[in-house]
Symmetry: C2
Subunit: 336 residues, 2 copies
Amino acid sequence: MSVTVADVGERALIARLRARVGPPPAWVPVGIGDDAAVVRPARGALDVVTSDALIEGVHFRLAWTSPRDVGYKALAVSLSDLAAMGATPRAALLNLALPADLPLAVFDGLVEGFTGLAESVRAPLVGGNIARTPGPLALDCTALGSVRPRRTLTRAGARPGDRLYVTGALGAAAAGLALLSAGADRSTLGSAERDCIERYERPEARLRCGGIVGRSRSATACMDLSDGLADAARQVAEASGAGLIIDAGAVPIHPGVESWATRSGTAPLPVALGGGEDYELLFAVAPRQIRRFLAGVRHCKGLAVTSVGRVCSEVAGAWLERAGELEPLAGGFTHF
Amino acid sequence: MSVTVADVGERALIARLRARVGPPPAWVPVGIGDDAAVVRPARGALDVVTSDALIEGVHFRLAWTSPRDVGYKALAVSLSDLAAMGATPRAALLNLALPADLPLAVFDGLVEGFTGLAESVRAPLVGGNIARTPGPLALDCTALGSVRPRRTLTRAGARPGDRLYVTGALGAAAAGLALLSAGADRSTLGSAERDCIERYERPEARLRCGGIVGRSRSATACMDLSDGLADAARQVAEASGAGLIIDAGAVPIHPGVESWATRSGTAPLPVALGGGEDYELLFAVAPRQIRRFLAGVRHCKGLAVTSVGRVCSEVAGAWLERAGELEPLAGGFTHF
């Protein structure tokens, strides 16, 4: 029998967690271990705050994904929200709901994955909570960031005539999840499909890209692709009161999606459009800002940015244009 | 069959929630409905941030407590953390993990309780997340507040010679929970015991008191009694590197605890010392600041403040003094 979290007790868990967290940086006068954390706002900046949950059996399975990657991802999804606002991370909080029989080694892995990413983006873990649960393991993360006024990216600013861009290649996380669900043996997969699994397990928040675009004020709207491009297009359309048209031939599809789809007899485009958890960014850019926008994102080394469509006033909502015809874009993942 | 959250779907749930939240105040340039919320920090102030979870079957039971009170309490416990730092609330986030068969009326009640309290303390709901869970209903709340530098109350400043004070009367929430667990019929209870249940279900964060004491800089340390006075004394002792001695005869015991304990053959003092969820405040106050401290808390109408002990250098940790003898203070509630 392995040692469980119940065996060591709540205080020992908190002590283990605190041992993983270094001394707080200068902008955190009171870190972990008081009633609440105190964080000095960045000078002249606004606070940006977001929170998200990962629940076992819904958002991840420990049978497929290592505790370390789950801990990493719990923070990464909130960092992606900061990236989509053009914000810089500043601090993070983690609420853990732990089944009593959770192995201590899993707890340690979760904490290691979370704090490792927190350190690397300079968003120290400053607080949170540990509770017992009769249900599945759950991680609730809150990320606090900062952004200068007028450099904030929102969903609401897209205007007819804007071009649409996405970062990266889409569908990877959905294909990675499908591969894991099907019990794929990673050692037998090609590198493109292995990369899909990696992208599902360790998504990279596009903080640098969001920050650069926010600072250059070259985008009118931005949203992350947590629930897929189709969903993001619908939400930006709704928030901006405009129509978004995605060009079917322009969507950048991850090569692992192409090869997985070919093998499994699936069409790759719906995966790239509807698959969630890519955590890439969708931008709307006014024509006169395109040069500035592209010059900015060129500083995000290794990150492709692709023109995928346009904003218009003739239709409302999100549409796919294929062979000159418009069809409604089917929505992304919803929880119920 | 009643309508469930799964029947209406995630988007409709979010729409219902947004309908309960008014337009954001001036200090919230981007409220609910974007990738993240944007909150303007209070001028010249620090951010204070805390998060907490309420899980059904661990922290509450819908069989005993109304959804509205559960929603209220999810925010109240985080507000209590802000109060203990001397902070003023500014915004709140709520992550809901919902079983698919949760009645829609329960969802509405949770949201109503949460947003009602949020409005009354001017901490608008600015974000969060709704997810399906195969496990129990859970509410994770993050509260964001502000405090001026050097007006922050922490656990770490208690010094030998300081006096200890608590607000309110203790043990009420523990007795209330015991009454609910025993299936007590509220209509047959006396008003003091009914008040215990009320204090368990709708704790009042001591925001005004914490704020006044913080502004007057008359306390050296503060902590809320979320896990009971004994636990708070231990934690303040540890954080401050001093000994805390509670005078057994001075602990203010809620009258409902006295009457419930008498009926059930329990000693009331251990309930008042060890019972969690009172959400009162423990202060350490230097002798030369006592007059100033008491003058400040006098502005919190209807809130008693009682001298319950002292800080010393002769012993470490938390102790109970009874008839001139010191005995170690037993710890409070822990989760594992």
